[in-house]
C-alpha cells in the first residue's frame, strides 16, 4: 500500500542524510521525498510517499522516524482529508500543428505551456499524482523529450470531516 507521511524536522545539516540512510538501512521503499522550509524558521517539512507491505512495517517506519533526534512530528496523513500536490515539467516534441493539438490536450488539466521552441514545448502541471500520470500518458504519443517531477508534498486540509461511526461498525 502507498502511504503519505509527513515529518516536521529541525533544519540541521545532515538531517536528510540521516533520515534517508535510516529508510535505506531498514529497507523501506521510497517513492518520493520532498523537503522544504515550513512556516516556522529552522523547521522543514518533509513529505514521504512510501510503498509499504503491512501495518507492522508502517508502524516501524513512523516509530523509526520519530526516534530521530531532529524529527519533531510524524504524521501518516494517507487516510485524512489532505491537499496533496506534485509538480511536473514535461518537454514534448512536435511540429506547429501538433503543438496546437497539445494545447488542446493539456487544457482540461489546467496545465500551462511555459517554454516554446521550434520543435518542442515545455508544459508545467501540478496536481495529484494520478492526474499527472494521466497527462503524461496522453502526451506520450507526441514524444516526451524530458520529464522532471518534484514528488508529492502534502498536508492536512483545514477542515477534517467528522468521523462517522456506523452502528455495529466494529463487527464489520
Amino acid at each position: 500500500m502507498k502511504r503519505i507521511i509527513t515529518a516536521d524536522v529541525q533544519n540541521q545539516s545532515g538531517v536528510l542524510n540521516r533520515i534517508t540512510g535510516m529508510l535505506h538501512k531498514r529497507q523501506f521503499n521510497i517513492d518520493s521525498i520532498t523537503v522544504g522550509k515550513s512556516e516556522r524558521p529552522g523547521i522543514s517539512k518533509m513529505t514521504f510517499v512510501v510503498e509499504i507491505s503491512d501495518d507492522q512495517k508502517l508502524e516501524q517506519l513512523t516509530k523509526q522516524l520519530n526516534k530521530q533526534i531532529d524529527v519533531l512530528k510524524v504524521k501518516d496523513i494517507t487516510d485524512k482529508a489532505i491537499v496533496a500536490r506534485e509538480l511536473a515539467l514535461i518537454k514534448v516534441g512536435g511540429n506547429a500543428q501538433q503543438q496546437a493539438e497539445i494545447q488542446g490536450v493539456i487544457n482540461p488539466f489546467r496545465a500551462s505551456v511555459i517554454d516554446v521552441s521550434k520543435d518542442s514545448l515545455t508544459i508545467q502541471v501540478t496536481g495529484k499524482t494520478d492526474k499527472i500520470e494521466a497527462l503524461i500518458a496522453l502526451l506520450r504519443p507526441y514524444g516526451i523529450k524530458e520529464l522532471a517531477r518534484t514528488g508529492m508534498t502534502a498536508f492536512l486540509r483545514g477542515n477534517q470531516p467528522q468521523e462517522v461511526t456506523e452502528i455495529n461498525s466494529h463487527l464489520v
Partner: protein, 576 residues
C-alpha cells in the same frame, strides 16, 4: 616585569582556544577518563591537554579500536558515558567497529574525532574522511562543529543524548581550525540541562498500561519475565527482584541482561536464546504471559519468530518505542524506563494466580536438563575452565569477553548475581572486544577483580593493548581459552558444513606467555586441570596484570543449541 610585558601575559592568559574550551566542557561534564590516541587533526586538543591541568586522565591506547572498546567497557561497568578522542581519517575510521558495537548494545559513548580544517573539508585533504557520513548510520546522533561558540552547547548535548533514554554513541567531529582558533570571548561552559524538542524520552509508564499489565499478571497461569539489558541501564535490578519475588515469577535473562536478576536466585532460569538453557527456552515457548523488560527480541534470543512464545500474551516494557512491536507482536506495550515501570508495578495490588505447578515444571526441566559437558584427564574442558574461573573469583569478578564459544561458556557457567559485572559484545559480536573492554572496566572499577575471558583468535586482534595494562599496572587477568581455532566458526563448519574446516583452525599461535613477558607482564600457562586450579589461584591473588594461556580441547562445541531457522522448542544437544 614591565607594564607592557605584564599586559602581554594577561593577554595570553585570556587566550582560550577551542581545545581549551573542549577541556573545560569535558570537565564540566564530570569526565574522569578519556580514552584516546593523538594525531595531526587533534594536535591542538592534545596540546591543550598538555597545557591544562585537566582533572581527568587520558589513557593512551595502542590502536584506536582499543580506545573505543575500553570506553565501552568503562561505560558498561560505571554507567557513565565512555569518552573517546581520536584523530581524523584513519583515527576516526578505526573507531567505527567500536561505535557500531556501542550502538547495537546501547552503550553511552561520546566520541570526539579530529577533522581537517574547515576550509579544506571536501577536498580529499590529507587524513580527511567523511566522519559524519560514515558515522551517521551507527550513532544515536552526530555533530560537526562549525562554529567555536557552539562547542560547549554541542558537548553538553552530546553527553545528554548519549546517556539518557536508550543510551548510545554520539560523535562530535571537530575541525582543526575550530580546536586551534582563539575564542573571542570566554565561552560559557556549563552542564546545565539542554532542551532538544525532538528528543524527549518518556520515562514514566502510562498508568493504564500498568493496570493492563498487572491484570495480565493476575490472570496468567504460566507467567514468565524476560529481562534484558534495559533493566541494568535503568538500575532496576532491585525493583525487578522485588516484582519477581512478590508474584513468584520466573525470570529468563538475555545475554546482555545477565546480572540484571541474580543468576543463582531460585526464580532464575538463566539465559535464553540460541545457547540458552533448556528450562529457559521451553519456558518462553510454553508461557502464557511473557513480560519483557528492556530486551529487544533479538534473533539470537527468539530463534524462528514463527515459533516464538506461541501461546503467550506479550507485554513489552522498553524506553525505545521503536523496539516495541518490531520483531514480536505485543499486546501490552509500555513505553517507559524499566525502573519506573517496575516501581509502578510494585505499587500495584496484584493477586497472582497460584502457579506453583508451572514453577515445578520449570524446575524439573532445570534439574533434568542442566548445561552439561564431558571431562577428560587428557585435556582441559573449556566449560570446566569457565567454572573454575567462577570458583576462583568467588563469582564476584567483572567478566569481559569477545564473541564466540568462550563467550557462550562464560554466559552459561558464570552466573552473575550483580548487575554491571558482565561486559560482552552481544549485538555486533565483535572479536577483539573483550581485552580492551577489560582495560576500560578496570579503570572504571579500580578495586574490582576484572577477568577478560577471551579466545585465542579475538585476543590476537587487540593484544597490543597489553602495553596499556603494563604501563598503568592495571591488574587485569586475561584468561585465554585457547583452542587454537576460531571455535564457533569451527563448530558451525562441523555442524552445518560437513566438517569442512575452512580457515578456522590456526596452524600457528604465538606463545602467549612469551608475548605477555615481552610486554613486561606476567604470563602463565595451564595444560591440564591441576595446572588450571593452581594458575588461577595464583593469578587472581597476584596484584598486577597476568595473561593466562589455557590450552583447551579444540573439538568442544557449545550446547545446547538452536540451529538457525529453528524455534525455541527445537533445541539440540540438550543432554548427552
Amino acid at each position: 616585569m614591565s607594564v607592557k610585558a605584564e599586559q602581554e601575559v594577561q593577554q595570553t592568559e585570556k587566550k582560550v582556544t577551542g581545545a581549551d574550551i573542549l577541556i573545560q566542557a569535558l570537565t564540566a561534564a564530570g569526565v574522569d577518563t578519556v580514552f584516546g590516541y593523538p594525531g595531526g587533526a587533534v594536535l591542538p586538543i592534545y596540546d591543550a591537554l598538555y597545557r591544562n591541568d585537566a582533572p581527568f586522565k587520558h589513557v593512551l591506547s595502542r590502536h584506536e579500536q582499543g580506545s573505543v572498546h575500553a570506553a565501552e567497557g568503562y561505560a558498561r561497568v560505571t554507567g557513565k558515558p565512555g569518552v573517546v578522542l581520536a584523530t581524523s581519517g584513519p583515527g576516526a575510521t578505526n573507531l567505527i567497529t567500536g561505535i557500531t558495537d556501542a550502538m547495537m548494545d546501547s552503550l553511552p559513548l561520546v566520541v570526539f574525532t579530529g577533522q581537517v580544517a574547515s576550509n579544506v573539508i571536501g577536498t580529499d585533504a590529507f587524513q580527511e574522511s567523511d566522519v559524519m557520513g560514515i558515522t551517521t548510520p551507527v550513532t544515536k546522533y552526530n555533530y560537526q562543529v562549525r562554529d567555536l561558540e557552539q562547542l560547549p552547547k554541542i558537548v553538553n548535548e552530546a553527553f545528554h543524548i548519549a546517556s539518557t533514554g536508550r543510551p548510545g554513541p554520539v560523535v562530535v567531529d571537530i575541525p582543526k581550525d575550530i580546536s586551534s582558533s582563539v575564542s573571542a570571548q570566554k565561552a560559557e561552559v556549563s552542564s546545565s540541562n539542554c532542551y532538544l524538542p525532538g528528543y524527549q524520552p518518556n520515562k514514566k509508564p502510562n498508568p493504564l498500561q500498568i493496570v493492563k499489565l498487572a491484570d495480565a499478571v493476575s490472570r496468567a497461569k504460566k507467567p514468565l519475565i524476560l529481562a534484558g539489558a534495559g533493566v541494568i541501564f535503568a538500575e532496576a535490578a532491585e525493583e525487578l527482584k522485588t516484582f519477581a519475588e512478590a508474584h513468584k515469577l520466573p525470570v529468563v535473562n538475555t545475554l546482555l541482561g545477565l546480572g540484571g536478576f541474580p543468576g543463582t536466585h531460585e526464580l532464575s532460569l538463566g539465559m535464553g536464546g540460541m545457547h540458552g538453557n533448556y528450562a529457559a527456552n521451553t519456558g518462553i515457548y510454553d508461557c502464557d504471559l511473557l513480560i519483557n523488560f528492556g530486551a529487544r527480541f533479538d534473533d539470537r534470543l527468539t530463534g524462528n519468530l514463527k515459533h516464538f512464545a506461541p501461546n503467550a500474551k506479550v507485554a513489552h516494557v522498553d524506553i525505545d518505542p521503536a523496539e516495541i512491536g518490531k520483531n514480536v507482536e505485543t499486546e501490552i506495550p509500555v513505553v517507559a524506563d524499566a525502573k519506573k515501570a517496575l516501581a509502578a508495578l510494585n505499587d500495584t495490588d496484584i493477586t497472582a494466580n497460584d502457579h506453583d505447578e508451572w514453577l515445578d515444571e520449570l524446575r524439573e526441566n532445570q534439574t533434568a536438563y542442566p548445561y552439561w559437558y564431558d571431562r577428560s584427564d587428557r585435556y582441559i574442558s573449556p566449560q570446566w575452565l569457565t567454572e573454575q574461573v567462577y570458583t576462583a573469583s568467588d563469582g564476584k569478578a567483572i567478566v569481559t569477553t569477545d564473541v564466540g564459544q568462550h563467550q557462550m561458556w562464560a554466559a552459561q557457567y558464570y552466573p552473575f548475581d550483580q548487575p554491571n559485572k558482565w561486559v560482552t559484545s552481544g549485538g555486533l559480536g565483535t572479536m577483539g572486544f573483550g581485552f580492551p573492554a577489560a582495560v576500560g572496566a578496570q579503570l572504571g572499577k579500580p578495586d574490582e577483580l576484572v577477568v577478560a575471558v577471551v579466545g585465542d583468535g579475538g585476543f590476537q586482534m587487540t593484544a597490543q593493548e597489553l602495553s596499556v595494562i603494563k604501563e598503568r599496572q592495571l591488574p587485569v587477568k586475561v584468561v585465554i581459552v585457547n583452542n587454537q581455532s576460531l571455535g564457533m566458526v569451527r563448530q558451525w563448519q562441523e555442524s552445518f558444513y560437513e566438517e569442512r574446516y575452512s580457515e578456522s583452525i590456526f596452524p600457528e599461535n604465538p606463545d602467549f606467555v612469551k608475548l605477555a613477558e615481552c610486554y613486561g607482564i606476567r604470563g602463565m600457562k595451564a595444560e591440564n586441570e591441576a595446572e588450571v586450579k593452581d594458575v588461577l589461584a595464583e593469578a587472581f591473588a597476584y596484584d598486577g596484570p597476568v595473561v593466562i594461556d589455557c590450552h583447551v580441547e579444540q573439538k568442544e562445541c557449545v550446547y545446547p543449541m538452536i540451529a538457525p531457522g529453528k524455534g525455541l522448542h527445537e533445541m539440540i544437544g540438550v543432554s548427552r
